[in-house]
Each structure stands twice: as C-alpha cells, then as structure tokens.
C-alpha cells in the first residue's frame, strides 16, 4: 500500500461556486476536508475609511455596494443609525415604504440565493425561474429610485421621494412582438402600488413552483440534508444571526425582538428550523419569502389609505421640498448648506441594526461632532458566517463545500467591505 498524505487544495478565487472572490485553502485527507482556511479581502474597498472623508449623505450610495444583492437593507441600517443619533422622527408613511422595500429586498436576496445555491448543487431550472421574478422587483427599484440596483433611496429622515403614480411600461420596438409586449406589460397599467399588489398575488404560486422543483427532490435532499449541521449553542458561539441561527432552531429575529420602524404593527411569523442543516436553512428561507409577501401586502393596503409626507420636516437635516427652495430664502440657505457642508451629528456613538436578509446588519457610528463620521464600522452578517467555514465543513466531502458556501449566502461586497 502506498502511503496517502494530506494535501492542500486551492479553491477559487475564480471558481464559479465561490460566489465572487472567495479563496479557500482546503487541507484534504483523500476527499475529506480536515481544515478549511478562507482567504478574504479580494474585494476590499475600505468603505469605512472612505466614509470618514465624506459627509454623511455621500456615504449612502456606498452602502448599496456592500451587499449588492440586498441594497436597500444596507442603506436602512446606515440611515437608522444617523436618525438615532439625531433623534429624528421619520414620518409614518416613510416607515411603511421602508418596511415594504426591505421586504421586497428580502425576496430579491432570497431569490438570488436560491437560484445560485441550486445552480451550485446542480439544479439549473430554478436559477432561470428566480431571475424571472427578480426582474419584476428590479423594475420596482427602478420605478422609485431610477436605478435597478444601487438605489440610494433611503435618506436620513425618510425616503428620497414618494411612490410614483405610474408604473413604467415596456415600449414597443422592432425586436419585441405585440404578444411579447402584452405579456411583459401585464399588471403595469396602474400605479406602482397596483403592480406590487399584482406581484404579491402571483408570488405565492411562484414559490410553490420552486418548491415543486426542490423540496421533495431526491438529489436536492441528498446534497443538503445533514450537511453543515450547526447545533444551537455553537450557532450562538459563532455569532450567527438571521436565517443561519433560525435554521438551528433559535427563534431570533430583530423585526420581532427589537422592532424598528413599523414591524410591531404588522402580522407575520418567524419560521425556524429543527436540525440546523443546509436543508433546514433552505426551508427557513423559503418560508421567509412567504412571510415577506404577507408583510408587503399589509404595507400596500396601508399605503393606499394613508397619503402623507415621506421626509422629515426638520430642514437642518433633511432637504427642503424643491418648490419651497425656489421661493423661500431660508429654504434656499438650508438647501445650500445641506448639500455642500452637510449636517453635523452631535458627539457620541450609536449602533443600529436591521434584520437584513442575511442576518443582523448593523452600523456603528462614532461621531466627534463633525459633518463626517469619525469612525464607521459596518457589521456584516456574512463576515461572521464565513468565519465559521472551518466548523461547518470539517469532516465533509469536497462536493459539500459548495453546498455549505451556498447555504451561508455569502456576498463578498459585505464581507470584504
């Protein structure tokens, strides 16, 4: 018999299943993993350092680029921290809009996760289905903010503008047949709220479609059941949050436990797993999409009934309405100061966190009274989850690494920052 020695395997950073730029050094014994050492930082852009040199509002677009599949949730944590430090009241309508878009973002994120996770494990079809629905949600982003991904829609004090009355439509051109155009413009005849409502009615049926493909699929179960099992105590030790800790059976959700915005007025459930394996986390996230759909529906109903302001009236920290700025001297001064010097935040520190689709996403701002943060720290959920890589894959086969990366829902924009 020849002597078999351990060898190291370099996985990534260009591997398609590495979800970006993860480099894994795997110490293997045959096909079994003895030790995994993730190397991160290949997408490090020093967002926190850049923010120190910019006035507070200029950093909002950087937040979009952290976790680039759940853009508005990142912004939400950042503007919430600023509002906390300024003790700024946000109008209720803006709070509902934020909650609605947080949940749209959650669906957007989970669809991306589901598609790529399934693709990594070997199911091609789900990926195509998921991207079909993502298109509708991206159009919503575009309708409210003008950008499909990097919205910069949330601002300290509210949101940038109210929901538009018209949902944009696809226009005819020579590559689009009459029939295609009609199908693409389905549900887009009314306002943005009508389109969202139309989506929430369709979406549960679509989740059923994905579940038909995966939930009882023998190959899917063979690849995910009992893979990457994390017991509840270990999950706490490893700093897990979001679907990762709920998959291990701990019903911890900031929306319920430390409610922010209007989550305490909404009706939704917190799904939890039992075994803490990849399959349970899959089930938790699928159930979460259904709950998000319920929340969106409730928000749509409320927003229809209650028109109002979407930006705080305090003009030292929120921009004045455009029409007022054109006429009033004081508003003009406020506008000029707001967009050139910005606003100063009183000396102190604050940490605010939201239930991001991936877990607890928080920002910690330390201010010395200037118009720029002294230190901004972004607490990204993926960072803690990826650091548990070694615990999750030890003893598994090489092919399971891909399933574990998928289940962690890693996105390097937030991990490397």
């Amino acid at each position: 018999m020849s002597e078999v020695k351990n060898f190291t395997l370099n996985f990534g950073p260009q591997h398609p299943a590495a979800h970006g730029v993860l480099r894994l050094i795997l110490e293997m014994d045959g096909e079994t993993i003895e030790r995994a050492d993730p190397h991160i930082g290949l997408l490090h852009r020093a967002t926190e350092k850049l923010a120190e040199q910019r006035i507070y509002n200029q950093s909002i677009p950087y937040m979009d680029r952290l976790d680039y599949v759940s853009m508005m949730c990142n912004e939400h944590a950042y503007v919430m921290t600023i509002e906390k430090m300024l003790k700024l009241e946000v109008p209720e309508r803006a709070q509902y809009i934020r909650v609605m878009f947080d949940e749209i973002t959650r669906i957007l994120n989970h669809l991306m996760w589901l598609g790529t996770h399934a693709l990594d494990v070997g199911a091609m079809t789900v990926f195509l289905y998921c991207f079909r629905e993502r298109e509708d949600l991206m159009d919503l982003y575009e309708a409210v903010s003008g950008a499909r991904m990097h919205a910069a829609y949330y601002r300290p004090g509210g949101v940038y503008r109210d929901l538009p009355d018209v949902m944009p439509k696809y226009k005819p051109n020579r590559w689009r047949s009459e029939k295609d155009l009609k199908r693409q413009n389905e549900g887009r005849d009314g306002s943005v709220l009508d389109f969202i409502e139309n989506f929430t009615e369709r979406f549960p049926g679509l989740i059923d479609e994905y579940e038909t493909l995966l939930t009882d699929n023998r190959i899917w179960k063979q690849r995910t059941v009992d893979i990457g099992v994390i017991p509840p105590d270990l999950a706490k030790q490893l700093g897990f949050t979001g679907p990762m800790i709920r998959g291990s059976g701990i019903a911890w959700d900031l929306r319920r436990k430390q409610p922010y915005e209007v989550y305490d007025k909404l009706d939704f459930d917190i799904p939890v797993g039992v075994n803490g394996d990849c399959y349970d986390r899959y089930l938790v996230r699928m159930a979460e999409m259904r709950e998000s759909n319920r929340i969106i529906k409730q928000c749509v109903d409320w927003l229809r009934e209650n028109p109002g302001l979407v930006m705080a009236a305090d003009q030292k920290v929120a921009p004045p309405p455009r029409a007022e700025m054109k006429e009033g001297m004081e508003s003009l001064i406020h506008h000029f100061k707001y967009f050139t010097e910005g606003y100063s935040i009183p000396e102190g520190e604050a940490y605010a966190a939201v239930e991001h689709p991936k877990g607890e996403f928080g920002t910690y701002i330390l201010s010395d009274g200037a118009n720029k943060p002294y230190r901004l720290k972004i607490r990204a959920p993926g960072f803690a989850h990826l650091s548990a890589m070694d615990d999750m894959v030890k003893g598994h086969m090489l092919a399971d690494v891909v399933a574990v990366i998928g289940t962690m829902d890693v996105v390097f924009g937030e991990i490397d920052r």
């Binding site: 300024l86 102190g348 520190e349 009274g369 720290k377 990826l386």
Partner: protein, 200 residues
Amino acid sequence: MALTDDTLQERIEDTFEEMDLSLSEQNGELTVEVEAADYIEFCTTLQQNHKFQLDQLIDLCGVDYSTYGKEDGQQWQGKRYAAVLHLLSIRLNERLRVRVFADDDEFPVIPSVIEIWKSVNWYEREAFDLFGIAFDGHPDLRRILTDYGFIGHPFRKDFPMVGNVEMRYDDLQKRVVYAPVSIKERVNTPRVIRKDNRYV
C-alpha cells in the same frame, strides 16, 4: 425576560464593584469602559453569569482616537487605540457596548477574548490588520482584508487615504510591480465640527 427588575447598568455596578469601570448611556445604549487588565475577567463574567448571559459577540472594531474632536495639527491627549465590542444576549434581549483602550500607543496590545466568544476570531484579525492592535492570546493573528505582503495599517488616521503604493503591470519585466502612488490626496468638503445648540 430579565431575571431581576434591575437594569443592566445596576446589575453591572453590583457585580463589578471592585473594578474600575465607567458607564455611560446614550441613545438608549449602554457603554462600559473597562481597563485592559480587567478586560478578560469582565468579559468572562458577562458571558457566563446568569445575570447577563451576553452569549453573542456581534461585533468588535478597532478605533484610532488620534484626531478625535481635533482640528488639523492638534493632538489627542488620551490613549490612542481602542477596541469596541458589541455584545448581545439572546435570552435577555439586551445589548451592551464594551470599550477597552490599549495601554501602549507605540505597540498596542489588548488581551484576546477568543476563549469566551469563538466568533471574535476574524474580528480581532481585522482590527489587527487595519489598526495594528495586537490581540494577546489569539492563535492565528494574520492579516485578513489587505493584500498579501501589505505594509502598514490602513485605517490608522495617519495612513493616507490614497495609500502609499500603487500597482501596475510592467510590460518590460512581464510582471506586476509596485510603485509609489502618483495621485495626490484631495478633500472636497472640509471637515468642520459644529456645536449644534439643539443637541447640547
């Protein structure tokens, strides 16, 4: 639910009478400043004592205080480097912020809490990488975010925003080379500290 009616602040004051702590509350968040010498004992109690049960370490970040509250040219008087921890108790639904300053500014060392919270591993590596704070007792204190072979600690306030070196492909040498940066740092909006009387 909390086991007693005492607030977190009262419980901390009761339990750690002999320690030199300074507590402050702002925006509904409690911050405790602890001496580096008491740090490990303090954290162990927070995690294990049933009165606290702060079983999750949410975040650890380094801070460089050298220009805090200062205009250009002025010097900060206190200790320069600190680590700020955000702790969470899932059972009691409470959060606590702990700040610990490193005693030495030249070679900042803070004890590692990796024996208490496993999740601190990468956070301490990050603080070491970006600020050069050494965590005593950490088993694997390597750089994490910056490039292999990077020189300096980029988040220190005296590290220039544009960096020190830039990288390009050299066609003659047929490899990637490093050279001093060719761009200058510029400030579009000056930093101003305003004492806003609404908040004082």
